[in-house]
Symmetry: C2
Subunit: 137 residues, 2 copies
């Protein structure tokens, strides 16, 4: 479902500020921090308040329109309708490998079967050792 209809279905409004923030995340193709988004917003419409931006990001995440992922020491935002994938980040060399979205299917099935729990793993960022760094160290 599109962000626009998700908002409307909940009686929420697609204000100019929200449209602007959604456009910025969408055009970027993913991986913007809140601070970067705030900068882009100010570059286009200087008057928008930072609390509006942070509140909008929180709202969009709760609605499932964007995903928030912990990447190293910061958080990045990713449009939910972009191509789905995960990231493997090497803690030794810092390299990031794109990862197929299906690797978590066995976990989702096991959690459902054992606990009746319905979980979805979206745009996960995993820290670990890449093949090269593992062979060295």
């Amino acid at each position: 479902m599109s962000c626009t209809t998700t908002l409307k279905n909940k009686g929420l409004k697609l204000t100019p500020q929200r449209r602007l923030i959604l456009n910025i995340i969408h055009e970027s193709g993913g991986h913007l921090t809140a601070e970067e988004i705030l900068d882009y917003v100010h570059a286009r419409v200087p008057g928008v308040n930072k609390s509006t931006v942070y509140r909008t990001l929180e709202l969009l995440e709760e609605l499932g329109c964007v995903y928030k992922s912990e990447l190293g020491d910061r958080f990045i935002y990713h449009h939910a309708e972009e191509g789905h994938h995960h990231h493997l980040v090497c803690r030794a060399c810092g390299k990031s490998i794109d990862c197929d979205e299906d690797v978590f299917l066995p976990v989702e099935r096991a959690l459902d079967k054992k606990y009746g729990f319905q979980a979805h793993f979206k745009h996960m960022v995993m820290s670990g050792l890449c093949a090269e760094c593992r062979d060295k160290g």
Copy 2:
């Protein structure tokens, strides 16, 4: 390996402040926020500075002595030598289900096989729908 030897092996010191923080996390049995840890530290030794506490928590996490997990809107610290498990948190009713640590083994094996990437999933907190709430909604 124990925290003490991990520190010594890296030329780092087990100062009274660090020992105190480790004891607090260990005795709690897990799930303390940084702010709660800071409060417990001040209750025992009022002079310790907050920057020391935050820097110590960051250090212990990097060393792998404690795990930091995102639980809802806050972060909790968990002693690495406590019993290993994960948490399933229902986003509808808030209930937390303890989860077997082995559920991520298929993912760890798949990442290793497909990408040569070595990842370890420790004390994960997963958001989703529990059985009861799924049946209702």
